[in-house]
Symmetry: C2
Subunit: 561 residues, 2 copies
């Protein structure tokens, strides 16, 4: 039996576009395939959220689904597709998140997702009813092949911290299946690829059945799907995968008696890129897709001479090329010569056009205006934020004028502590590095500098310079907060400590144990108090298990000691 | 049997404060009570969201819960309290959302909420496991009184558009109960009070049992609980209620044989204020609580001379008094004399200090700076937004300097269409009128002008003047968009049409039917395209069924035709 696995880049609600992509794969691969597999909710794009409540969204979905079904009338292969189906019982949520198998113009099998994730970024119980456990054992025989089906979370019952009342994959253990097909809308984050292997490896091994894991690709707002669809043998060992962060379709073949899976390019022997390479690729695709799906013409970045804006600019150029990227350098009296030299050198290295707007005169004007208007001298914070907000406005001027997207440049350490100016450096429509702690920012910058043809693309002088906001004379981040290695350890434990593996957690805990308790509590308090700023943040491309945004929900007006 | 019903104002996570409030009611009312009833999740505050994932949050909760339990050791009355309990089955979410009855130092009855709302602003399945239906019929006998218990959503099975697989209240129909007690964390929105009466009236009537509906009071971010706890007779008829938007505790008495409920002040004969009065009170409490719970010293508002900022300023003064409210008027060349005169008159009426900062010079400076820096003339939108953003910065200067909260002033019509400047007039930490369409804004302004001692508090000249952003010469909102009555009808149907009752929906539909289809679609498209702005909006006090924010989740990068 020949199976085509397709990991495509879908846009949410672009039914015509998604249909066209799906149809192109069917057109090309059907002659040599018995089954073509597409990912979870592929026709509508994952996750549509409340668009599911719009009747026209469902109408469009069904219209294009019927077109796909009609197109299979004269094909010998079957299509496995993730779709929305209606819950016609009259009780519960209006839809199921379903997998259907289409063959010769008919739906020959339907499976409803049984475990609906409701944690972190996931909200599926908002619109879907779980598939009734007793109604379906999740397997079906097609062309003499007994196939078990799973939809994404269905496979995670034994892995999550949140356990479920039932485990759909357990149905497979005594079912003597020939093959398991899991369709997924599985977003990428650090550690996720290994988690998948471990979790689905256990399913394959316990069921003694080879397994196909079909994912999707692409960025939707802050979430990026990495593809990397893979196949496992009946012992749970990974055999091969499709590329990461790239739309792709590849063929595998199941030998019936021995249950051996073989594969052809673009499937390659299973390969897992390094953590930092995955983060890098994820950010690039996240930006590219946000640009394309929202129709921006390019991006513009306020360049300070510091590490964060330098990395953001470099990532943007890597994703979009230098022509679609602009930089604006906006010095004041507090700006060191080095900031200017480093900014110029970086833009030269990246071949990016650099605008310079000296904001000191307007800053001075604003200070005087403040004194006259409010009959008092601006305090330290007021003075600092004026500068950041003039810069934010100038970036937005360029954006309004050109249709370029402003990328904001706050990292996760700053956003955690509120060491960032609302409507100032937080200005922007997307943040590429907001889920990277400052220490991760350096790690990624150093990684880029080692890529082929990128040696020292980001000037070393930027990397080695002590971080400063340059909103005052002789200002240093480490003086306002803590040195970043210590700070990041505190923050990471506080924000996502419960999601870390034990080894990582222990290393951080050891570092934090050396820090006075009152300093740790002070930093925790900063995190809680800065929630009002983060609530107004641009979407942040999610790379860690728990990012700021949809996946972390806390009240602003909570009690803080 | 004497029952005290307490609707208190809890802060999320303020265990010590919430404990103190609960204890004060127990202290005062226990001598004359058989049961004291507190609302859903009252000890921790509703809804704690991901704070539930913090171990110290649960520890604090349990510590104070134990104190409450210990305090009842020598009391003859029982306490009914909404608390977090642990799911010890090892399967499913870690907690139940529970009602416990405490008596003489022991928990004598525990009921777990069976229906967890997962729609609109509600996310309860994120942390709670539903109470197992088969384990508990939801009633318990205390002092010879057979009482049925419900927690909030448990009562809504027959009302919601989303139906549930089971209806906990149906257990009561043949149970021959003496009393039903429903504890709630039921936020206010237009129509909600009638919805409650209808829904819980049906439960009382079907069970032929009198019913006590205990709510809570107070604002948590964008959500405001209105109190208004009420009692129904065994035919479902409302007898009495506690005040709206005011912490309060009152007594009712159940006569055993006849099942008659009687009541004493502060319970009064059931009274439902008008829709507009409820909206008004809701906004005032929302602001007051946000101020107090987040420790702001006052509020500052950019006054334009237009309706939105005038209403915002007036609401702020009504909530906080004039001393804690400041206004800043920031004219340019486009500002009419009338705007200044009206602003001055309004501040005089309200006795609010008014600062004036003419921003024209800085605007001119910015235009020239733009030309020099980017070698092109700023376009219309760029020029308009510069003004709004200079104003936003000046408001934030005042805020940084004084610790005053900036109130943003965009209404729901503007926010819907994106007719508002990100980091400009959207600047602020809270928006009082962002869930009011422009036509609602006028309605509320006129209502305030009819209140005792408030006749023409808001100058008529502001109310009758055609709306203008004054970012250009002779600009009119109606030219950029549509006249507001038509626009609002389109928007309301598009944004919350599915939640309206049939009568309201028909009236709007009739108005919209007269508008050319392409204009309607153009407005829909504006709504979808402005999602990126709303994602960065300040919290908006929710007054309609579907407000922008947590309760309406759509992707930014969705496909838009």
């Amino acid at each position: 039996m020949n199976i085509t696995v397709a990991q495509l880049n879908y846009q949410i609600g672009d039914f015509d576009g998604n249909y066209t992509k799906i149809s192109a794969v069917i057109e090309k691969h059907h002659p040599l395939s018995d089954i073509l597999v597409f990912s979870e909710l592929s026709l509508c794009g994952y996750y549509p959220h409340d668009l599911l409540e719009r009747p026209e969204f469902i109408q469009q979905h069904d219209f294009y689904l019927n077109k796909i079904i009609e197109n299979t009338l004269n094909l010998s292969c079957a299509i496995v597709l993730g779709v929305i189906t209606k819950n016609t019982t009259g009780l519960g949520k209006p839809f199921f998140n379903s997998l259907i198998m289409i063959h010769q113009g008919k739906i020959i099998y339907t499976y409803h997702k049984k475990l609906l994730p409701v944690y972190n970024i996931f909200d599926e119980a908002r619109h879907f009813e779980p598939g009734p456990n007793q109604m379906d054992n999740g397997h079906f025989i097609f062309k003499d092949t007994k196939i078990g089906f799973l939809i994404c979370e269905d496979g995670w019952a034994t892995h999550r911290d949140v356990t479920y009342l039932n485990n759909p994959a357990a149905n497979f253990e005594k079912a003597k299946l020939d093959l398991i097909i899991a369709i997924n809308g599985s977003p990428s984050n650090i550690g996720k690829q290994n988690d998948r292997l471990e979790t689905f490896g256990r399913i394959a091994q316990k069921s003694q059945t080879p397994l196909i894991f079909c994912n999707q690709v692409g960025g939707n707002d802050d979430i990026v799907f990495d593809g990397g669809s893979f196949i496992l043998d009946q012992h749970g060992k990974p055999l091969a995968n499709l590329p990461y962060f790239e739309a792709s379709a590849g063929q595998v073949a199941l030998e019936h008696v021995s249950h051996t899976l073989t594969y052809a390019p673009p499937f390659k022997t299973y390969y897992l890129p390094s953590e930092i390479e995955l983060v890098y690729q994820q950010i690039l695709l996240g930006l590219t897709d946000y640009m394309n799906k929202c129709h921006f013409k390019g991006v513009v970045i306020g360049l300070s001479g510091g590490m964060d804006s330098a990395l953001t600019l470099t990532l943007a150029v890597m994703a979009l090329g230098p022509d679609k990227v602009k930089a604006i350098f906006m010095p004041t009296r507090f700006t060191a010569i080095q900031s200017q030299e480093d900014s110029e050198l970086l833009c030269k290295n990246l071949q990016v056009e650099l605008f310079q707007v000296n904001i000191d005169e307007e800053f001075e004007f604003s200070l005087n205006q403040f004194k006259q208007s409010f009959k008092q001298n601006p305090n330290k914070i007021t003075k600092q934020n004026i500068q950041a907000r003039i810069r934010g406005r100038i970036l937005m001027e360029y954006s309004n004028q050109t249709g370029y997207l402003v990328l904001s440049t706050g990292n996760k350490s700053e956003l955690s502590c509120g060491y960032t100016t609302l409507y100032g450096d937080m200005t922007g429509g997307l943040n590429l590095i907001g889920d990277l702690y400052k220490t991760d920012v350096y790690h990624l910058a150093n990684y880029i500098n080692t890529l082929p043809d990128s040696t020292n693309l980001i000037p070393q002088s930027i990397i080695v310079r002590p971080p400063t906001a340059e909103l005052d004379y002789n200002q240093k981040d480490a003086d306002d907060l803590l040195p970043y290695p210590e700070l990041d350890a505190i923050l990471k434990l506080y924000i996502e400590g419960d999601l870390l593996n034990q080894a990582d957690s222990l290393i951080l805990q050891e570092l934090v144990n050396k820090i006075p308790k009152e300093l740790i509590l002070k930093m925790h308090k900063l995190v809680d108090k800065a929630e009002f700023k983060r609530r107004q943040s641009a979407p942040i491309i999610r790379v860690q298990k728990r990012a700021f945004g949809f996946g972390r929900r806390v009240p602003i007006s909570m009690f803080i000691k």
